[in-house]
């Protein structure tokens, strides 16, 4: 068994390498002089020369890549131009709010989406199913920043119930932490919820057509048990897979949500970096998030071992 796990972990290495390669190539494949693109319209030739030197752009590509990867492996993501600090330090400073927001979103989503999906699947074709699926299409379609503004407008400005913007860390107490995060978490979770609910419904509905469900019913056990212990348990693998893939959506949503609610997290940092055309910072954050995504999906893959005894790596 350990052999198999080891092999699975090892197979993520090529993925990470290719991710690094892609991010690396993005800058180098820009038409024209990459340094000029970075400096923008107001740069001087001195700026361009400086960037050339600091990024080593005159060296042959493979050499650049090796040097750059070497830095990566040492945990060095480069230095931000405008904030004049190592990217890693910036990320470490801003990670807490993003982590809190993501965690809260995940909890809300999973607590709601899976049960809703199971209920919709069990009432397949009925009015409840149709209504839930209609809601999920809407959840998919309304952009999160629009939802954010509507929520702010309705709840915070008019009803004055919750703080509009900003973030309070856990050390200030659970109350403020929660009240500041609840609106952003709801905003962020809507898309994720819609996705997971849909996939749960589809997976459970398909599991319900399998032969072993017929056997289970023929045994005379309760319908609830058939739904959960037989159908949902077998649908677990595709559902967990989509939860993993949906993290990509979550990360994109974090950027927008933090902007709308002025939460000083990694999303906000990304936007600041983009507006300032601070390329090392953008690159560093992109790499960081990509690695997190790969890691989470690796955990998802490993969870298959628990969920389905037929899967052996």
């Amino acid at each position: 068994m350990p052999f198999f796990l080891f092999r699975r972990v090892l197979s993520t290495a090529p993925v990470l390498v290719i991710v690094a390669l892609i991010v690396f190539m993005i800058l180098r494949l820009t038409p024209g002089d990459p340094a000029a693109a970075l400096v923008g319209d107001n740069g001087t030739s001195a700026d361009i020369a400086r960037i050339h030197a600091s990024l080593g752009l005159d060296r042959p590509l493979p050499v650049q890549f090796v040097k750059w990867t070497g830095q990566l492996l040492q945990g060095n993501l480069g230095d931000s131009y405008y904030m004049k600090q190592p990217v890693t330090r910036l990320i470490a400073q801003r990670i807490a709010p993003t982590l809190s927001l993501s965690a809260l979103t995940l909890v809300i989503t999973l607590l709601l989406a899976v049960p809703l999906g199971v209920i919709a699947a069990s009432r397949h074709g009925g009015w409840l199913d149709r209504m839930l699926m209609g809601l999920s299409v809407m959840g998919f379609s309304v952009p999160s920043f629009v939802v954010g503004y509507i929520l702010i407008w309705a709840v915070a400005l008019h009803a004055k119930l919750l703080p509009v913007q900003g973030y309070a860390s856990l050390s200030a107490g659970i109350g403020p932490w929660l009240t500041h995060l609840i609106l952003p978490a709801i905003t962020l979770s809507i898309v994720y919820l819609a996705l997971i609910a849909r996939v749960t419904r589809a997976a459970v509905a398909e599991a319900l057509t399998e032969d072993y469900i017929r056997t289970a019913r023929a045994k005379g056990i309760s319908e609830a048990r058939v739904l959960i212990r037989h159908a949902l348990a077998n649908a677990a693998v595709p559902i967990v897979t989509v939860i993993g893939i949906g993290v990509g959506l979550l990360i994109g949503g974090v950027v927008v949500t933090e902007t709308v609610y002025a939460i000083p997290g990694l999303g906000q940092l990304t936007v600041d970096a983009v507006l300032a055309r601070d390329f090392p910072l953008i690159q560093g954050i992109t790499l960081f998030f990509s690695f997190v995504y790969v890691l989470i999906n690796l955990l998802v893959d490993m969870s298959y071992l628990l969920l389905d005894p037929r899967i052996r790596y």
């Binding site: 092999r7 399998e210 032969d211 289970a216 045994k219 005379g220 309760s222 005894p309």
Partner: protein, 552 residues
């Protein structure tokens, strides 16, 4: 064996046993748009304590629908519109869902057709049976486990404790079916319904399961409703027989009476279509030159990647055979015997790991791509599943002309050949513009044969070509193949697991087991005087072997 059956039938007629299941004038409607208004119409039958009633019919006869109706498992689109079903005197059609759930397991139980998918793949086998016990009885955990292990031993599962802790995918089809039977019988229900429980199993496993069901039933006096399409099975275990056709009951009666003196023409037709186990006499084959010569075919699959150790699976080992003009060579074996692997190697759908294949004097074992084209002209394949061997998005005509067009035949000529071939397989040529979905299974198989013949092959490889067809349709296809062979003098390599089919059509037969040839020779010799013990076991396991079918 015949006399024994007669005596039990006579003795049970002396004291009428209690009726466990009574189906009265049952009519179940199909949803609008189906090809007929009712799934079953005015069907009445009953099953008494201690007897096995076989419900016999071809596909679409409605036999499974009756079983589902009894268990309350009918899909929502099917509704009973007339008649009633009584289980031990209680009406089950109008019973509440809770009452039905109570009855399931305690009073009635069902065994289904596909053992490979009947069990929840992510739950241990013991737990699945335990779930049912926990629902219906008040026994404690230890007591439940004891009872489960006991019944596992009773259904002849080896090492019940290990099986208790296993997952379904770790067990064979036969073992899984025993677990399903154990699960059905653990609460000692009065009625056991078996819906084609052995159709998906090998013939030797089938024989064991049939024997098991018969023994358990005799022991506890359970009433059994056994659904099947196989007359051999009926001959083997039935007390009484009910024959269904397209939802109507055609005939019913005691087994011997229905099988030996059928009243209805449909029953007579079905009985005549069952191939005899005794090989027919066939015209002699002149062994002038072989159309196909396979020497020492071997196929090894390597599984497992680093760092796990590589495992070698030898699907075929040193198989040699020859096919002459006008000769049908059969390969028979159970699942895992390697017969399909050999066929696909010879057809060059896969590449053999060892050995060589000669056709027209040329070696083709290692050839690839364009080099294989002349070979493909001469050797064509007819596949098993008629519903998936034709591209659903192409007209039937396009499928048939595809081969000749690939070989450079001009379109007009290819189309004309297609029309001739449709006539040869006894379908109207103007149907060439229809799509496969508009044809029945038997018709589609004929189209597949026409498609194969369009290339003007010298050898036809039929890979379980009739296994998915009803027995009456099967008889037609076998006759068609025979006819084609007589006229065109082609050689046929026929793969099958069904010994009766082999008897019907083969001149020579090769018996395979676990990748190796166990016995081969003229079919009369092998079937009437088998030398190898495996061949003997295969022949002994064929259900209804003592019954002379197809004669008359």
């Amino acid at each position: 064996m015949r006399d024994f059956d007669f005596q039990t039938a006579a003795s049970s007629a002396a004291e009428p046993a209690a009726t466990v299941l009574a189906v009265n004038n049952l009519t179940i409607a199909l949803p609008a748009g189906a090809d007929r208004p009712h799934a079953v119409r005015h069907v009445s039958l009953d099953v008494r304590q201690g007897e096995i009633v076989c419900l016999l019919g071809e596909s679409g006869s409605g036999k499974s629908v009756i079983a589902q109706a009894v268990m309350g498992l009918l899909p929502a689109s099917l509704k009973a519109v007339d008649g009633g079903i009584e289980l031990l005197g209680e009406d089950v059609l109008t019973a509440s869902p809770d009452r039905i759930r109570q009855l399931r397991g305690e009073k009635m139980a069902m065994v289904f057709q596909e053992p490979m998918t009947a069990l929840n793949p992510i739950m241990r086998c013991g737990a699945q049976v335990d779930e049912m016990l926990a629902q219906h009885s008040r026994a404690g955990v230890g007591e439940r486990r004891r009872r489960i292990l006991e019944i596992f031993a009773h259904v002849r599962l080896p090492e019940p404790e290990r099986i208790y802790a296993s997952y379904p995918h770790q067990l064979s089809g036969g073992q899984r079916q025993r677990i399903v039977i154990a699960m059905a019988l653990i609460l000692k229900p009065s009625l056991l319904i078996c819906d084609e429980p052995t159709t998906a199993l090998d013939v030797t496993t089938q024989a064991e399961i049939l024997k098991l069901i018969r023994e358990l039933q005799t022991e506890s006096g359970t009433a059994v409703l056994f659904i099947t399409h196989d007359f051999g099975v009926v001959a083997e275990i039935a007390d009484r027989v009910v024959v269904l056709r397209l939802g109507d009951m055609i005939e019913q009666g005691a087994k011997l009476q229905v099988l030996q003196q059928p009243r209805e023409p449909y029953t007579r037709m079905l009985l005549a279509a069952v191939p005899a186990l005794v090989p027919r006499t066939r015209p002699p084959v002149e062994k002038a030159y072989p159309l196909l010569d396979a020497c020492g075919i071997g196929k090894t699959y390597v599984t497992g990647s680093w760092p796990a150790r590589k495992r070698k699976v030898q699907a075929a080992i040193d198989v040699s055979l020859m096919v002459h003009p006008g000769e049908t060579v059969g390969i028979v074996g159970e699942s895992g015997s390697g017969k399909s692997t050999v066929a696909r190697c010879i057809a060059r759908l896969i590449e053999p790991s060892a050995g060589d294949i000669f056709a027209n004097g040329r070696s083709v074992a290692k050839a690839r791509g364009r080099a294989l084209y002349p070979f493909r002209r001469g050797v064509q394949v007819v596949f098993q599943d008629p519903y998936r061997s034709l591209d659903p998005r192409q007209t039937v005509g396009a499928s048939i002309v595809e081969g000749p067009l690939n070989f450079g035949v001009p379109y007009a000529q290819a189309w004309q050949r297609a029309e001739e071939l449709m006539t040869l397989v006894r379908l109207r040529p103007d149907a060439l513009n229809r799509y496969p979905s508009e044809f029945s299974g038997g018709q589609r198989q004929r189209i597949s044969i026409a498609r194969a013949l369009a290339c003007e092959p010298k050898v036809l490889i039929a890979d379980e070509a009739v296994s998915a067809l009803d027995v009456s349709v099967q008889a037609q296809i076998l006759e068609l193949l025979d006819d084609i062979q007589q006229r065109l003098r082609i050689g046929i390599l026929f793969i099958t697991h069904d010994l009766r089919v082999a008897s019907q059509i083969c001149d020579r037969v090769i018996v395979m087991r676990r990748g190796e040839i166990v016995e081969e020779g003229a079919i009369q010799d092998v079937f009437l005087a088998p030398r190898h013990e495996y061949t003997r076991a295969l022949l002994a396991a064929a259900p209804g072997r003592d019954f002379a079918f197809g004669a008359a």
